[in-house]
């Protein structure tokens, strides 16, 4: 066990865990930030995606000791009030079903938009193609990313 200081959603947190502990479980079990999900543990599904200094990263394969000074952003920190254009678009397109995969989808989509404000279908495929949604919300995800890019988020 060792002490680590993590900056999560702008707040510093001290945790006392083994250095090899995946960030996923530190967020969920030590910090109670359960919005980041466990789906596979082996970088296959994307449910655990968070941002490290703005970069979408799979927290299930990111050891806490490797985070260093990088700032962690989780779904809870994407916006203070569901006002991120993607969150608005997610509502407008009625994307989530069970909702379990959506934290990861949103975090990856947020990085995509920050890098490519007007993504093509191919860009969306390349970015979100490594995520899994068992409820099959893919068609709506694609529409919602385009909607957010066009900044048409908001009421349907």
């Amino acid at each position: 066990m060792a002490e680590f200081t993590l900056v999560v959603n702008g707040q510093p947190h001290k945790v006392d865990v083994a250095g090899g502990t995946p960030l996923l479980w530190v967020l969920r079990d030590s910090l109670g930030l359960t919005g980041t999900k466990y789906g596979c543990g082996v970088a296959q599904c994307g449910a655990c995606t968070v941002h490290l200094d703005g970069e979408a990263t799979r927290s299930c394969l990111t050891s806490v000791e490797s985070v260093g000074a990088r700032k962690v952003t989780t779904i809870e920190g994407l916006s203070p009030d569901r006002s991120h254009p993607l969150q608005k678009a997610w509502v407008a397109e009625q994307v989530p079903q069970c909702g379990y995969c959506q934290s990861g989808m949103l975090m990856t989509a947020a990085q995509l938009l920050s890098q490519k404000p007007q993504p093509s279908d191919a860009d969306i495929d390349a970015s979100l193609g490594a995520h899994i949604c068992r409820c099959g919300t893919y068609q709506r995800i694609r529409s919602a990313v385009h909607r957010a890019a066009a900044d048409k988020g908001g009421a349907r």
């Binding site: 789906g39 989780t74 916006s79 379990y100 409820c135 099959g136």
Partner: protein
């Protein structure tokens, strides 16, 4: 006949008007159930603020049920949408509640929920009329208020709730349901009420439950089905950081299918997983250790090669086959399938000496409660189950093995415990969609009309594993969708034999329809090809004469209406441009199917990309009666299409040495976003009672795709998942 009263008011100071009712009292099987200690399992509560809450046990797993139910409530009770909400009722000794599955929530409760809501509305009208000393006939409900028409006086529901609770409820005969033409909320694509919590991380799933003092556990289970613990050495696991206990877990109560094993309990999930990695454990592999896909296939081949129990026999299929002008024979095979919900299984349970509390992502909180009672010896009043959101259910969460484990481990370590299944556990210790085989023989006359149809089916029966062997009906969840063949064929015989297997199985989205929809609709397509008739025209001709087809599994149930199936097929075909030219390298195929009292037809558009099948477009038509929320209906069909495409094109579960070979999403692949076809959903306008929609969009998918691939390549898809080698 006196109608059983299932609606009743109760007054609780401070709560306002509460109307209790039986949620699904009108379902045939409900009527047959024995009397219950408390007659209610759902309540409508109107509080002093005029807010209306539906308290019920229906669980939300992504199907949008909390939205659909509140739409029905808001409309019938006559308030604006913003005024209604759902409260998930805990399961405790006080009432009986239902599982969520079988695409039954709306169809089962549509009448009763409306009746109860109309009762509440009628009560509020009567209360206002009394206060105004006006005749009831001059008062009406309007958006959360009662209006006295002649004077324009108004009283809000909030002000009326408390006095309304003190009056006896109106005579059911005086309760009048709204006319459908006055619906304002039913039939609208209202945004779902669970979505805001699902975009900011605040929705609480089973795995997100946090209880003071809780521990986390993972369990080592015997890799071969039916095996048992031989011995284990806990020393290294106990020395692993954070591990607080390593305990032997016995097999669960009969019928729970909890296999037992060794639980490693720690202060965090990761520590528990690490502890289990350090555990040394040996197993007795048990009686099924030699089972494999090959042994099962051999059983299926034997069982479908000899006559078996017939469930439908019209005319004389054997004679008609013997004298056939053209005989067509084909065998279809389907593998086990995993549910693989995105949220792995888990259970958080706190067993104390005198009570237990559980937080569960479950489709069946009542069964969960029963099993926790059985494990702990506690009475119903002492066991409370809180149902959380589910990260997918698809039938897997109608099982309770994982729940039993939660209760067992909490009891053993005397602390609240969250038993977590890793994805590998979830993949390898599932309750799978059965593997199955259909062996068909059909006869066409000289004009190409089918005159005989013999279907010998074998599968690994779901019921067989849990029913009392003396009363077992192995076919109960196996033959629908095959036995009630909608097509007019004069000589017809459908047989079924169940195959032995140690693999646990359970309802998987659309249950047997996922199997039978593929086999039947593919084979019908083969007959059309043999007759050299367009597949749409071939089906329409066999559906031309309107008929009602019953299933022997549900002889008193609503039969299949061929008119509605035909209309669906025609709608899908016309929206898809059936018969119109396509670019080179593309082809269409179609299929239709009746399940959960709803009708579905689909046209798939496919091509080959580097020899592998690629689905570009699915045009779906559904008739699910009145659509409560059309966008929700579309979402369920989109979802069913993706789930079916994963099974048609991607992963499956294979068995070797009595164990599952797959372990995670790298070897159990599912459809991902780049492969998502365009899905267009068309809803047949209907004012009949709503029917199922969570599942009926699934069964036609694989056959529509396979039939399209046949049109493209001339190769018939007879097994799933579709392999490129089968098309070469």
């Amino acid at each position: 006949m006196k109608r059983r009263s299932f609606v009743q008011a109760s007054a609780t100071v401070g709560l306002g008007l509460v109307v209790g009712f039986r949620f699904e009292a009108l379902l045939a099987q409900e009527a047959a159930k024995p009397a219950l200690p408390n007659p209610f399992d759902a309540w409508i509560r109107i509080d002093a603020a005029g807010d209306v809450t539906l308290v019920c046990g229906k669980s939300e797993m992504g199907q949008g049920i909390h939205t659909a139910l509140t739409q029905i409530l808001a409309d019938e009770v006559e308030v604006d949408w913003a005024r209604v909400r759902v409260e998930q009722a805990p399961t405790n000794g006080a009432f009986y509640d239902h599982g969520t599955g079988g695409s039954s929530s709306v169809r089962g409760s549509y009448k009763t929920l409306r009746q109860a809501a109309a009762t509440a509305r009628t009560q509020l009208v009567a209360t206002a009329a009394e206060q105004w000393k006006a005749p009831v006939s001059e008062c009406r409900a309007e958006r959360g208020e009662i209006v006295h028409a002649p004077t324009g006086r108004r009283l809000g529901y909030g002000a009326l709730a408390a006095p309304a609770a003190l009056r006896p409820l109106p005579d059911p005969a005086t309760v009048v349901l709204k006319d459908a033409k006055d619906f304002r909320i039913i039939g609208q694509s209202i945004p779902r009420n669970d979505i805001p919590a699902k975009i900011d991380g605040s929705a609480r799933f089973g795995l997100d439950v946090r209880v003071p003092g809780m521990l986390f556990a993972v369990i080592a289970r015997c890799p071969t089905f039916g095996g048992a613990l031989k011995s284990f050495d806990a020393a290294k696991a106990k020395a692993s950081p954070g591990v607080v206990a390593v305990v032997e877990v016995p097999p669960g109560p009969k019928g729970s299918f909890a296999p037992g094993g060794v639980a490693v309990v720690a202060k965090s999930t990761w520590q528990a997983i690490q502890g289990r990695n350090a555990l040394a454990v040996q197993w007795n592999p048990g009686p099924h250790a030699a089972e494999s896909d090959a042994t099962l296939r051999k059983s299926f081949e034997q069982l479908t090669s000899a006559p078996a129990t017939a469930f439908r026999s019209d005319g004389d299929a054997a004679a008609a086959l013997a004298s056939a002008a053209v005989k067509v024979e084909a065998t279809y095979e389907l593998p086990f399938q995993a549910h693989a919900s995105m949220e792995p299984l888990n259970a958080t349970v706190d067993v104390r000496a005198d009570r237990a509390e559980a937080w569960l992502a479950t489709q069946d909180p009542k069964w969960a409660q029963d099993l926790i009672m059985e494990v702990t010896g506690l009475k119903a009043e002492a066991v409370t189950v809180h149902t959380t959101y589910m990260g997918g259910g698809f039938g897997r969460r109608a099982s309770a093995d994982y729940i039993v484990e939660g209760a067992q481990v909490s009891q053993l370590v005397k602390a609240p415990v969250q038993v977590v299944w890793t994805r590998e556990d979830d993949m390898q210790h599932g309750s799978y969609r059965p593997a199955a085989m259909h062996r068909f023989s059909a006869a066409l006359d000289a004009a190409g009309k089918p005159v005989a149809w013999l279907d010998r089916m074998s599968s690994v029966s779901i019921s067989r594993q849990w029913d009392d062997p003396a009363k077992v009906k192995p076919w109960a969840s196996e033959i629908d969708g095959a036995v009630n063949l909608p097509y007019a064929i004069p000589n017809l015989r459908m047989e079924y034999a169940d195959a032995p297997s140690g693999v646990p199985r359970m309802w998987w989205r659309s249950v047997e329809h996922s199997i039978n929809g593929f086999a039947v609709e593919s084979f019908v397509d083969e007959l059309a090809a043999a007759a050299r008739v367009d597949p749409l025209a071939f089906r329409l001709a066999l559906l031309a004469e309107p008929r009602l087809v019953k299933s022997p599994n549900d002889p008193d149930g609503t039969p299949l209406d061929t008119k509605r199936l035909k209309a669906c097929l025609e709608l899908a075909a016309s929206k898809a441009g059936w018969g119109e030219p396509l670019p080179a390298g593309r082809a269409r195929g179609l299929a239709c199917h009746f399940s959960f009292l709803s009708y579905a037809a689909q046209v798939a558009e496919v091509s080959l990309v580097n020899g592998a099948p690629r689905v570009h477009r699915i045009v779906a038509a559904v008739d699910c009666g009145r659509a409560i929320n059309p966008d929700g209906v579309a979402a369920q069909v989109e979802s069913s299409v993706v789930y079916a495409l994963s099974a048609a094109l991607k992963g499956s579960i294979s068995i070797a040495k009595g164990a599952v070979e797959q372990s995670n999403f790298h070897d159990f692949e599912v459809l991902r976003l780049p492969e998502m076809p365009r899905v267009e959903v068309h809803i047949v306008a209907s004012d009949t009672v709503p029917t199922g929609i969570g599942e009926p969009g699934l069964p036609p998918v694989a056959s529509a795709v396979g039939n399209a691939l046949f049109a493209l390549t001339g190769k018939r898809v007879r097994r799933l998942p579709i392999r490129a080698s089968d098309l070469a």
